[in-house]
């Protein structure tokens, strides 16, 4: 059990990294990765919301939607749960944890429409994970997101200094750099099977 959870956790971080190999959450990856502290703030907020959203959507899917044969409502129900959760989290943080709100609050409104959040909740269901696996998978996905953001903010600060051809300036060269970072992550392929033997 523990081995399987660890395998899921590390494969979400390195092999199936949401940003670099599954293309989820590209918008914040390109938008907020320019400065290290905003990259970290955004990623932490995403991780927290991912875990909470999974903790909320998994039971609702398995104990409300499935018994009533309402699986086709998955998309609508999940996005509404996520929207409500984000609002709730924002209100609670503002009221009870002002310092944390000051650090993460600004990123929360942007998270509702972050496809990584809806993506992780749906993929957890699709992959048939049980509750513990789903939570670990979400945490791994969030930390993988953090890793990609932090690494890429470093790469980006170097790109700022570079002088690419005129039409590549700005976003195009950033995407090419992202391609190289993603290439390096492909090197992790197979590592999970080798270490954990699953």
């Amino acid at each position: 059990m523990a081995v399987k959870l660890a395998a899921i956790f590390f494969s979400m971080i390195f092999v199936d990294n949401y940003v670099l190999s599954k293309f989820l959450g590209i918008c914040p990856f390109l938008g907020v990765s320019k400065k290290l502290n905003s990259a970290v703030g955004m990623s932490v907020a995403v991780t927290v919301v991912m875990v909470i959203a999974t903790a909320a959507t998994w039971p609702i899917y398995h104990y409300i939607l499935v018994p009533n044969e309402l699986e086709y409502m998955q998309t609508i129900v999940f996005i509404l749960i996520i929207a409500v959760l984000v609002q709730l989290l924002e209100t609670v943080l503002k009221k009870f944890l002002p310092p944390l709100y000051a650090a993460l609050g600004v990123y929360l409104p942007l998270i509702t429409t972050n496809c990584a959040i809806l993506g992780v909740t749906i993929l957890n269901i699709d992959n048939g994970y049980n509750f513990a696996e789903a939570l670990v998978c979400s945490a791994g996905a969030g930390i993988g997101f953090l890793l990609a953001m932090v690494l890429f903010s470093g790469v980006r600060s170097r790109i700022e200094e570079a002088k690419p051809p005129k039409c590549f300036e700005g976003l195009p060269i950033t995407l090419v750099a992202a391609s190289l970072v993603s290439l390096s992550f492909m090197g992790f392929g197979g590592i999970i099977e080798a270490i954990f033997g699953v």
């Binding site: 293309f23 996005i79 090419v176």
Partner: protein, 261 residues
């Protein structure tokens, strides 16, 4: 009539949602491993875009502005569910190939962005045409990217459309598998964006990336109103000058990724 046509053609190159407004990047990168998947994704998004634009435009006087984002999301999610069920019934292979990115049309910035930016302010016909234009721009870009990645990456073209691919070069030219994998997606997308900028430059017009092209720019100053529509904003813009030179301050102190000039 000419104005109507202009709304449609706007989305194709001048305001191309993917290459110019930098919206909907996730599905663009993920499904374009095959041209047919790109085409299918584009058409599915176009359908949702047209339908949700029409409904939101009809409801624009009824929905109170404080709760508009959740309302829009519900409308969009309904049409996405319709597409999901139709595709599962009639095009199962495509349904399986698009996977999680089909339900993720709900959070596609293009659709929410157009709802916020256009459909909530314009009439039904104009909104439908805007949806059509943006959708076609999205479909065209996805199909073209899919074509490049499929021909170079697997040597075929339009595999999945018919029983056999339209043509198959994999025997004569060894395919470069990397292009149909993740790094290839980023690379081809970067090149396409550069090409779009270069094309615009030849046209003699100024390139504008960032807040000017951001569909959520209109809602940016209102911090709370940002709630749903601003993902595209936080991504493609964020506290930078928009096209008109008007400073659009978002709460998030991010930097826009695309400094066009």
């Amino acid at each position: 009539m000419k104005e109507k046509l202009k709304i449609v053609t706007n989305g194709l190159l001048k305001e191309n949602p993917v290459l110019k407004l930098v919206l909907g990047t996730c599905p663009t990168l993920a499904v374009t491993t095959m041209a047919f998947n790109g085409l299918g994704m584009g058409l599915a998004a176009t359908f949702v875009l047209i339908c949700s634009n029409v409904v939101i435009s009809l409801l624009r006087k009824v929905v109170p502005s404080q709760v508009r984002i959740p309302c829009y999301i519900t409308v969009i999610a309904t049409f996405v569910t319709v597409v999901q069920m139709l595709m599962k019934a009639f095009l199962y292979d495509l349904y399986a190939a698009l996977g999680v990115f089909l339900p993720l049309i709900v959070v596609n910035c293009i659709i929410l962005g157009r709802a916020e930016m256009f459909a909530s302010k314009n009439g039904v016909v104009a909104s439908a045409l805007d949806g059509l234009g943006m959708g076609l721009g999205f479909t065209l870009t996805l199909t073209l990217m899919g074509t490049v990645r499929e021909i170079l990456g697997s040597g075929t073209w339009m595999a999945g459309l018919l029983e056999e691919p339209i043509f198959d070069l994999s025997g004569t030219i060894p395919p470069m598998g990397i292009l149909s994998k993740a790094p290839g997606g980023f690379f081809v997308f970067g090149c396409f964006m550069a090409a779009a900028i270069a094309l615009e430059k030849i046209d003699g017009k100024k390139v504008k990336l960032g807040c000017g092209g951001c569909p959520s720019a209109a809602c940016c100053p209102e911090a709370q109103a940002c709630a749903g529509g601003c993902e595209g904003c936080g991504a493609s813009a964020g506290g930078e000058k928009d096209a008109a030179g008007q400073v659009v301050e978002t709460e998030v102190k991010t930097d826009e990724p695309g400094k066009g000039e």
